[in-house]
Amino acid sequence: MSSLSPSEVQSVTKLLGRHPSKLEEGLFTAMWSEHCSYKSSKIHLQKLPKASPRVLVGPGENAGAVDIGDGLCVVFKVESHNHPSFIEPFQGAATGVGGILRDIFTMGARPFATMNLLRFGSPSHPKTPWLVDGAIRGLSGYGNCFGVANVVTDVAFDSCYDANILVNAFAIGVCKHSELQSGTAKGLGNAVVYVGAKTGRDGIHGATMASESFDDASHERRPTVQVGDPFKEKLLLDACLECFEKKLVVGIQDMGAAGLTSSSYEMASRGNSGLNLHLDKVPLRDAGMQPYEIMLSESQERMLLVAKQENVVAIKEIFERYDLDAAVIGEVANERLVNLYWRGDCICSLDPLWLTDEAPVLRRPSARPEIASEARAMTKQQAPEGFTQYDRHIGLGTLVAGDESDAALVRIPGTNKAIGLSIGCDEQLCAANPFEGARRGFARQVLQLACIGTEPIGATDCLNFGSPEDPCVMWSFERAIEGLCEAAAAFKVPIISGNVSFYNQTNEKAIYPTPTVGLVGLREGYAHFATRDLKRDDDVQVFVGVKHHDLACVHTLAQWLIPLVRSGEVDTARVTEKGDDLLGVIIAAPKTKVAAISKNVPGEFLIMEQ
């Protein structure tokens, strides 16, 4: 298992004034890992536009939140679980969706839909069928049992992913503004309560495993893959939402990567608080576990919450009713130190900011590759086999899913609102030109949302790249960010949450730059939307497109299409590129209607009969 770099060890030694203990080294290794600290990406991510009048919560919390009117908001994020899914596809994918669901309901929102983007190796690679089968069963098994509709799956195959598959899981939830929670520990004397499943030895150093490239010994990392239990997670959801409803919680965060360590140090950092944690009070599956293991376990379905002392009894009663552990493991302290106690002895005392804000910020060298890769034609599946394994209808929201339309449309029952959902990436173009690929991919998704009559209100990103230690990978990363920046600014869409997954490479072979975007749209009323299938035998198909470099034109195209879809005039549409230059939609309608629609289009539009 990798450890801190020599310069990082130096930084830690300087902060502590001495060499770190084994426990301290473990904590810093996890928190300063690429996965947890974003050290190679932080300075670039800051460039992404994250504000708009609708944004309620931007990057920095467990997920972002965007207002949808009438006092409601949607909470969403996309995350990767690439490395564990390659090692153990069923559990890796299952815990990927488990983790993203917790990120949503820890914010106070009830999840109502998921999407996923999957990249597998060449169909002829011997491992591919096993990986595909495991990942789909893992994602669907977990999501179906938990009870959330999976409405889009974007699946593609290419040999660049042979030894580095991608599993990007998106989730979205809804709640009232007033119901939003925060991952903050504050209030001197407040109780720190551990809730959910017991802690076991699974997943120790999972975050560190996700922060390294694979080599030939990767299969030995199986114990670092977490094991998921969607039944427990559903109980956890019910219990947490009940606690929120009864206003019993001051702050809450799920235990994801780096488990108890990340949740406690991050909550303390956000609250500028201290914590006293008594590790011997943590509910354990194996009584012989030691502090190091307890702190770094990535056992699933656990949350850390902070509550006023007078509410502890009520919280315990709720969790007991759902058959989950709820144990007071500490309290909020006055000095900004996280003190870990083991059987009465203080075994570690660190300023939480050392593990969060003081994490290294790296300016990695970047260098343009001499030869731009030539993008091969990738095998993409429009309605992938395996999509029927996902429950698409639970929640009574799904009006149309990704098998019938380019983007999904999900209504919010009890309101007049519907949410548009799209997930994707233009990695073929990214391979040759990451800036253009990121930009065109975003533009394409804006048009996908227009096909179902929605305007984009927010985005989340999952940036999957090779090793940041390779200057060519960093160059691609920076260019992709620039492309996202330009696109998000042009369409006025804030990027409110996200995730970076580096080290998607094995030995020297890296994946295509794959900056996944989850785009969320909104509309009031949802009577009409377009789907891909032809409705009438005598329909005429016509391509309406613009030059994809001109984002203002793409925006005009989307604005032109939306009212036509909402009124029902255009009921058949799909997004497509034509050549290297053009991006647009192919719409189908009776001949007279097409003639009428084509008459008054803006000059920048190109119209081509199909």
Partner: protein, 226 residues
């Protein structure tokens, strides 16, 4: 006059079911927790909703079938009270032996989510009284363990006594449902002294509003109250 929707540990279609009763059928609807000993005094009908109660531990519905509330549900059913078990609810009714047979894993061993064509051999009877005999309807299914199985005697009895309520239209050469291998293509069966119990794998609550694709499901939910 309340419709009682029973909640088991990790039931996940309970809120959907209640939503449809309250907003579409416009009936008073309450949740009843699995560990209660009694149903509400004014209970008019009982619904066991879909989901993966207890994570399908051991067998789908096996754990839920033994929760305290099931004694009251059994009494209610034996007394002729209307009971509907949807998906996991059907599995629970079989495990509790309120209905004969069992729901086994789909023959292809995969979860399947699809909107399927069904026939109503039980049309005009029990909760299907608002359907014509052998009407063709469409309802969504979403399950891993939907293959109905009963021994030959039970199957013969169900057929002879007109207790088969719903069947899948698409059957294979063995007369099993193509979508999940269900014997005789059975998607739902009646039980109780007066066909007052209906267990079915498809989800009527998911097909009760036009915007969701159709309203073939709502009539059976409405009939629980009339």
């Amino acid at each position: 006059m309340t419709v009682a929707v029973i909640r088991f540990s990790a039931s996940n279609c309970d809120r959907d079911t209640r939503y449809v009763f309250e907003h579409v059928v416009q009936a008073k609807c309450d949740f009843v927790w699995q560990d209660e000993n009694e149903l509400p005094a004014d209970v008019r009908a009982v619904v066991l909703p879909g989901g993966f109660s207890f994570g399908d531990y051991l067998r789908a519905g096996a754990m839920a079938a033994h929760r305290p509330i099931m004694k009251a549900v059994k009494r209610f059913a034996e007394g002729g009270g209307p009971v509907m078990g949807i998906c996991n609810g059907f599995q629970i009714l079989c495990e509790a032996q309120i209905l004969p047979g069992i729901l086994m894993p789909n023959h292809h061993n995969r979860f399947v989510c699809s909107t399927v064509e069904l026939k109503t051999p039980g049309g005009g009877l029990g909760a299907l009284k608002n359907y014509a005999p052998d009407e063709t309807i469409k309802l969504p299914i979403a399950h891993h363990d939907g293959r109905y199985y009963a021994n030959d005697d039970d199957l013969m009895r169900l057929t002879r006594d007109q207790m088969i309520a719903l069947t899948y239209v698409d059957k294979d050469e063995h007369n099993n449902a193509k979508v999940n291998g269900s014997a005789l293509g059975i998607a739902g069966i009646f039980g109780g002294p007066t066909r007052n119990v209906l267990g079915l794998m498809p989800h009527p609550e998911r097909r009760s509003e036009l915007c969701l694709g159709g309203t073939d499901g709502v009539r059976m939910l409405q009939s629980l109250l009339s």
